[in-house]
Amino acid sequence: MFSWDLLANAVVAGVLLGGFYAAVSLGIGLIFGLLDIANIAQPAFLILGAYAAYVMNSAYGLDPILAGIAFTPVFYLLGAVVYRVYYGSFERRGQESLRGLVFFFGILFIIEVSLSRKFGVDYRLVQAGYIGKSIDLGGIGISFRYLVPCLVGVAMTLALYLFLARTFYGRAIMAVSQDQAALRLMGADPIRIKTIAFGIGIAAASLAGALLIMIAPVIPSTDRDYIGRMFAITVLGGMGSIGGTLVAAVILGVVESIMATFFGPSWSLAVSFGILLAALAVRPSGLFGR
């Protein structure tokens, strides 16, 4: 069944999927990869973002991406509050490892059940002019439903990369992930910096959630499908490497796509995670880990 045409289509579809995976994983890349906080609740914030986009889209006809952007300040504040509670209750007392994990599990379930109570359990989707449309470029089909999230994902990655590399707060976030005490000596408050970083990580979920609901229907428990992928991409890319997150996301996307096209889709996830294990065996710190 092999043909170059199919291969080209599979690679392009994989790259588009990877761009979306990057958008979904950026928040956890920042929170888990840089701050070392095992925020298991990140996929739930992602679904919360998807529902926010759904509400704005169904009630006011707002484009899901604009809705996702509009909600980023709200999610930022939400993230900041969650981090402060986490810090006050666990991190400050040195109990962040196991109890902190339970805290985030709790948040995940609270978000899931709250969404279920508020919106019920029907599958929700959004409408936009470009969803469902595709173009053919020399035999390679490109669905806008994947192209738009990919472009947004790449833009998010670039923006976060520049923020971390070029701004004071960005460099402070990089510093806090390396040496909290040294940062304090430089006159910056590490807790404030971590609050900002956590808030940005959750704000990213607002936009990524809007991308998610453009691609697939969502119910409150959809978050469970993404936990594994998000952490796998972060680890494969290298903890703390934002560019690595994008590369790892594209690798997983392309592998899934090629497997689904040529070897049977049931193998796609197994092979993706197999690659993760193999990569970690060779480079335990991930592809671009420090």
């Binding site: 599958y123 089909g141 439903r145 697939a216 499908d225 996307g253 049977g264």
Partner: protein, 421 residues
């Protein structure tokens, strides 16, 4: 006797009387008949579990308005099984031993019925199953009855109408692609499809499965398109049904017949979101707002009540898939209790096994393994849908019943591409 002693004697006597009364389980007219069950109110199957609960609640209210069962009001006792089979034994043990329910029904779905079967068998209970596929095939428990109209051969029930229709078309399609999720229902449906492909002499050109958490379906659809099949049979759950349908349109997959066992396309939010993308899809279903079904007594009243309560309950606003059957399931149980004039589990089961019931989904008669004596899985085709309005789905003409003949409400538009115009 001093005054204190008199008081003590009276108190002791009162306690003895109260204790004695508690020990004698006499059902008084006002005592409710308790119907117990677990239900998927959260988790993956809750999109069906919650509407099923609403339907059972409506039945309870209807029955109680008419004076209850055996002159006693009906009370529901239920717990959220979280779509998690491991919670089922605990829930039903509590229902039976602590809540002391009189009757039980299952929760929604094959996976949630499976762990309940041994409990019902051990305690010799009558068990009404709600949409389980072949749960009793191994046990052959005589007191189990299942309301999904799959019929005596559940494994081929999803696909039989699809392939029978395909075989009747002129020119007859030759090649088939089958694809489905790695989960219990799709796997069963694919096993049935393979058997039917042999029976009708089609040639399989693609036969693959995918993980339920797949995000992008376009590579799968593209691989199917590369095999150029005449028929594409899909066995999927709601997220993958939407993913496959969208991908088919994006990639331009246009076999002669497309659809089969796609769960979720009949859900109202999915129908309204997909809109005209649904046109031409031939898919299984159990109920459609077409004349043969709307003519059945009681169903219009039920749907009116269901739709009035649906928004508040946060469930499917139309309720055309599972709810009428959930209502029918408890209708059967209620009619059997009234007919046997008691709550004897064996008598109730014997009665259900031997009789035909009039319900809002029509006449129901159970046969081998507690399945419907004659299968009635429909094949419908979505036709002439435009836009995303919910109102177009309320009446006839959009989900035309093609199979079986006794419920047929229109003709197939063939090939698939013709229905897309």
């Amino acid at each position: 006797m001093t005054r204190t002693r008199v008081l003590i004697a009276v108190a002791v006597a009162t306690l003895v009387v109260i204790a004695a009364a508690a020990l004698v389980p006499v059902a008084r007219a006002a005592d409710p008949i308790k119907l117990g069950f677990g239900m998927a109110l959260t988790g993956g199957l809750s999109a069906n579990g919650k509407p099923a609960l609403l339907a059972v609640e409506i039945w309870k209210d209807d029955v109680n308005k008419k004076g209850g069962l055996l002159g006693r009001p009906v009370q529901l006792v239920y717990y959220d099984d979280q779509t998690n089979p491991s919670t089922v034994p605990g829930i039903y043990t509590k229902l039976l031993d602590v809540d002391k329910v009189d009757l039980i029904i299952s929760g929604y779905g094959t996976n949630l019925i499976a762990p309940l079967m041994p409990i019902a068998m051990e305690r010799k209970l009558t068990l009404m199953g709600m949409f389980g596929l072949a749960n009793n095939e191994k046990y052959q428990y005589p007191n189990y009855f299942q309301i999904q109209p799959a019929g005596p051969d559940p494994q081929t029930s999803t696909a039989i109408g699809f392939f029978e229709l395909a075989a009747k078309q002129n020119p007859k399609p030759q090649t088939v692609a089958i694809v489905g999720a790695d989960a219990e229902y799709p796997q069963n449906a694919l096993v049935g499809a393979r058997e039917l492909i042999k029976r009708y002499g089609f040639k399989t050109v693609y036969d693959k499965t995918y993980p339920p958490s797949t995000v992008d379906y376009t590579p799968i659809v593209r691989a199917i398109k590369a095999t150029n099949p005449d028929i594409v049979f899909v066995a999927s759950y709601p997220p993958d049904s939407v993913g496959m349908l969208r991908a088919a349109h994006e990639v331009g997959l246009q076999p002669k017949i497309f659809g089969g066992g796609m769960v979720g396309l009949m859900f109202t939010t999915v129908m309204t979101s997909m809109g005209s993308l649904l046109n031409g899809v031939v898919n299984y279903d159990f109920w459609a707002p077409e004349p043969p079904f709307l003519a059945i007594a009681g169903v219009k009243d039920f749907l009116k009540e269901y739709q009035a309560r649906a928004e508040k309950a946060g469930v499917d606003p139309l309720g055309y898939y599972l709810p009428p059957y959930s209502y029918a399931l408890v209708q059967v149980l209620g009619q059997a209790v009234e007919a046997t004039k008691g709550l004897d589990q064996q008598k109730i089961a014997d009665y259900i096994r031997a009789n035909e019931f009039n319900t809002i989904v029509g006449k129901v008669k159970f046969g081998k393994n507690g399945e419907w004596a004659k299968g009635r899985t429909l094949m419908v085709q979505y036709q002439k849908i435009s836009g995303n309005s919910i109102d177009q789905f309320r009446g006839p003409g959009k989900k035309v019943v093609l199979y079986p003949d006794e419920f047929k409400s229109g003709n197939i538009i063939y090939p698939y591409a013709a229905a897309l115009k």
